[in-house]
Symmetry: C2
Subunit: 562 residues, 2 copies
């Protein structure tokens, strides 16, 4: 059997090694357009920032080492330019010599990845993108030789965030421009507000809701033209507005395509054409939560798919179980992670969802070093099916998102979270782990023990006396900032001072995180008041408000008091 | 409704608060024998070690604060001395005044906890135990005033390990004595060897397999008498050989008891006597994995049970789903964690189990700071039901154990681990997370892609030429230490040098971690050799051997080369 692989990174490299392990006799040839194979894609921004200091770390595997161990003929700087399914061959161009040749195959695996989206903008050639080791070296070299003091990053996803952190740590003035009004679209806007606050606190300027219209040469750099706003000038511009499946080849060969030009595959990673498989950022996957076809460009799925394609190429029957978009990103000293779907995706998929917010400590409060986690857990109304989670914090974020990702994958309900038997010792967690806490809160909603209202309903609440807005925090907390129109009774005084509340009026109860206001709701409900508890508390509301204010002014605002 | 609670820590305090939230009218009285309520049980050793510097941190909740928020009458230094189910009352002694009185109840909740096991040993009164805040203050005071330079810790469980670390960090000479031949019985011995190595490296002397026979006063301290060995002398002795359910009260009241004198309860946390509930370290639980009745003294289960008892006391119908013993402990700069059952427990429960060992990096190798995890995952033969996991390492240990704990709870099989969609970015994980890797390895076993042999079979393998022992590591690795009787061919030279192996003989293949030897097995199998792969590699084997050697000499041995 002769296997030809298009692409020698992530899915392609994984598949090549797996095929060899399963079939010592197979002939395996992989063509990689760039000069490097199996490189550390997700580490590239950290090389530019000097966190990873040795270029060799990025490219641990070489064609030579791959040959030695796996007898895979990894040909770098070779681009596959056409597929000929009818005669089971590909046309290849040697990018070093320009020479073109045909290579036959019994099985073909496409792992071309995705390329940075390059919009049709005037002057876009002047700016950098980041995909390959070569791109990295180019930016690295530019930084080393030109010492740019300012950078504009167009885009607000994983790579853009990582670049912002790395370039900021190098001392540059960093401006991020992004058409949507938030960074990191896996997050709902109120959760993104915590990320925005961190970026601004670290001195990154965010221009959200702005559209880049083009680029011009400027003295000593590039002028970034914005729609309806003053242009920006910077000595370095990096375009990271997303990735597009690199599927021209598949399209020309007549393979069935899926969403956004991706390659359609079944759960065996087979394309519509016999003996052609495809994996990685170029393929359409089924979303594990919604069941919809989608594109998820992440390394974890790519590697898993590579293994599955390899199994099937070697006569096995492995099935890909779908992606759920679990992801994590370092944001300076903060971590932001998500799994499953967010509210917007739920709405799009027609799933009616509910949610809890909580801000528990990452580990026992009495053990030093604990930090608050900002958590949101989404579940389907009525069925309590877990839909997704988003967490932003300093410590223990990745742990809780992986626990929740596992719970989603296993089909646990949101109510099952309370029963999870998780490991506790003071340096690591609390006896009631944050994930258990989310379960307790959801059980309270399910039982009708408490009813919630949300941050985006606050401003529209009537201030005409027809309802009561009650803040139950301490006097100190209340004075440092509160919602307009609230009356203030600390929870511990509520039983004595209940007569200050007008009976017969719905009470909207507020505290810092939602915990004390929940207790207040319980006290009031049992004394005849109908209540709603502010989910996420003043903390979440304030974060969104400060974010809005900062976004309007496009510079850090009101953040100093945090 | 009047609820009386025996014990104001963990389960008792959780239940009290929950009952109040559910029932604003209930009268709630809790009697706590010690002077403190709701204290940070698991943090006590860290106060002695000065990691937690403020005593107030340990005792954040006071009877006053609990009254203010929850209107729970928390009476400290009150011991319940008898239960009278027939007239629904308890007899209580005020430990400050000596006065005794009766208190009636409608519902009674027992949360007495477990007390340090105090064996009938001569002179045992001279030594410290650690259970309450008072115990902690006593040891803290002794350390502050007497400045002991040496300590003997009897016992090798969580508290003992935490004490060892904390006292060692204070500069004491620490000796741990323990009857079993290993510390931390949730771990199988080969996994405990990594813990032993860390303890020894940090200068803790381990006397394992030694029995304490008694204590004598000695000049300036205590003489610890050992069976068949020289006595030890130390200026401080702490007894932490385990805990025993504190159930004298329940027994005298005629409540049905379970294993080891624990209180028998159903899944509603109801005892055998109507209107009496029990929770926490004193009750018998059903083990989630084996289904057997057992005792699991951990804070997580106690808190969950408290909540469930409260729900049911207030007319609800909550059910405890069993404990699976998920636990974690800090061992200096190392973390050790376990969930489910170990091999010994599987054998005892008559479950036939298989296992994989792996030592992946905690995060992507090219991002700085990654450290190896030592992982063991246990599953049932044939069914591939997940049974348990043990992990020892520096970073990311608690995350992976919680993911595996969740997988066990959700009923995932060991094969499902490969499909988990976990969050990856270089600072947090690898594209193939360690948990995925375990799944891949188990799938390879299931498919017959590889067969294993184990560290405890190595020494008994014939060296008479009837089988081949093959080490596939680099020359450098081989020279720094290898298994006797092996021939050495690095994996990358195996295809050329296969003729050096005698055909027809079973080949036992070894590398450092088990990965390269797996690849070697695949090469050899497809060339007609039957192979077995050393699970966990030379790394695991060496750790056990060094541990044995150190244990025999009872001082650090051969560790310097690690």
């Amino acid at each position: 059997m002769k296997v030809v692989i298009v692409g020698g990174v992530a899915g392609g490299a994984t598949a090549a090694a797996r095929i060899r392990r399963l079939d010592e006799q197979a002939e395996i040839v992989a063509f990689e357009r760039s000069g490097y194979i199996s490189y550390a894609n997700c580490g590239l921004p950290y090389y530019i920032g000097g966190v990873i200091t040795d270029q060799a770390e990025l490219t641990l595997q070489t064609p030579e080492s791959f040959w030695q161990r796996f007898r895979v003929d990894m040909r770098v700087r070779h681009e596959v330019i056409a597929i000929h399914p009818e005669r089971k061959a590909v046309s290849v161009r040697n990018l070093s010599t320009g020479e073109t040749f045909e290579e036959s195959y019994d099985k073909l695996l496409l792992s071309p990845g995705a390329k940075p989206t390059q919009p049709e903008l005037p002057g876009v050639g002047q700016v950098f993108t980041l995909r390959t080791v070569e791109d990295t070296l180019r930016i690295h070299e530019f930084v080393k030789t030109h010492h740019p003091r300012s950078v504009v990053l167009a885009g607000g996803g994983f790579i853009s965030l990582e670049m912002a952190e790395n370039l900021r740590e190098l001392g540059m003035e960093v401006t991020m421009v992004q058409r949507p009004k938030q960074l990191m679209n896996p997050f709902d806007p109120e959760m993104a507000s915590f990320i925005h606050a961190k970026m601004r606190k670290k001195g990154v300027r965010l221009l959200l809701g702005h559209t880049v219209e083009g680029f011009e040469e400027a003295p000593g750099g590039v002028r970034v033209l914005l729609k309806g706003a003053e242009p920006l000038e910077a000595e370095l511009v990096v375009l990271a507005i997303g990735v597009t499946p690199d599927t021209q080849l598949a399209k020309e060969a007549g393979l069935e395509l899926g969403v956004k030009g991706s390659i359609a595959v079944n759960d065996r990673m087979e394309t519509s054409v016999p003996d052609i498989y495809a994996v990685g950022d170029a393929v359409q996957v089924q979303h594990f939560v919604t069941g919809e076809h989608t594109l998820i460009s992440l390394a974890g799925p790519a590697n898993k798919q590579g293994r599955i394609a390899a199994d099937n190429i070697c006569g096995g029957n492995s099935r890909y179980q779908g992606s759920q978009g679990s992801s994590v990103v370092k944001v300076f000293d903060m971590t932001a992670a998500a799994t499953g779907i967010n509210e917007q995706a739920a709405r799009k998929a027609g799933i009616e969802c509910d949610k809890v917010y909580l801000s528990p400590a990452s580990h026992a409060g009495y053990y030093p070093g604990g930090r608050l986690l900002n958590m949101k857990v989404l579940f389907e109304k009525n069925t309590y099916r877990l839909l997704g989670a988003q967490i932003v914090g300093s410590e223990g974020v990745d742990k809780r998102i992986d626990v929740l990702a596992t719970a989603i994958r296993a089909g646990l309900t949101a109510l099952d979270l309370k029963d999870l038997d998780l490991a506790y010792a003071p340096p690591y967690s609390s006896a009631k782990d944050p994930v258990n806490m989310a379960g307790f809160m959801i059980e309270n909603l399910a039982n009708g023990t408490v009813r919630q209202f949300h941050w985006d309903e606050v401003d529209a609440l009537p201030r005409d006396g027809s309802v009561t807005l009650l803040d139950t925090r301490t006097a100190e907390e209340y004075q440092s900032g509160h919602i307009e129109g609230t009356i203030h009774i600390p929870v511990d005084e509520l039983r004595e001072r209940m007569n200050e509340l007008e009976t017969g009026k719905l009470v909207y109860v507020i505290c810092q995180s939602g915990l004390r206001s929940y207790i207040a709701c319980r006290i009031l409900e049992q004394n005849g008041f109908a209540c709603r508890n502010l989910a996420g508390g003043y903390r979440l509301y304030e974060s969104v408000m400060l974010d809005r204010c900062a976004a309007e002014e496009a510079f850090p605002c009101g953040m100093d008091k945090r």
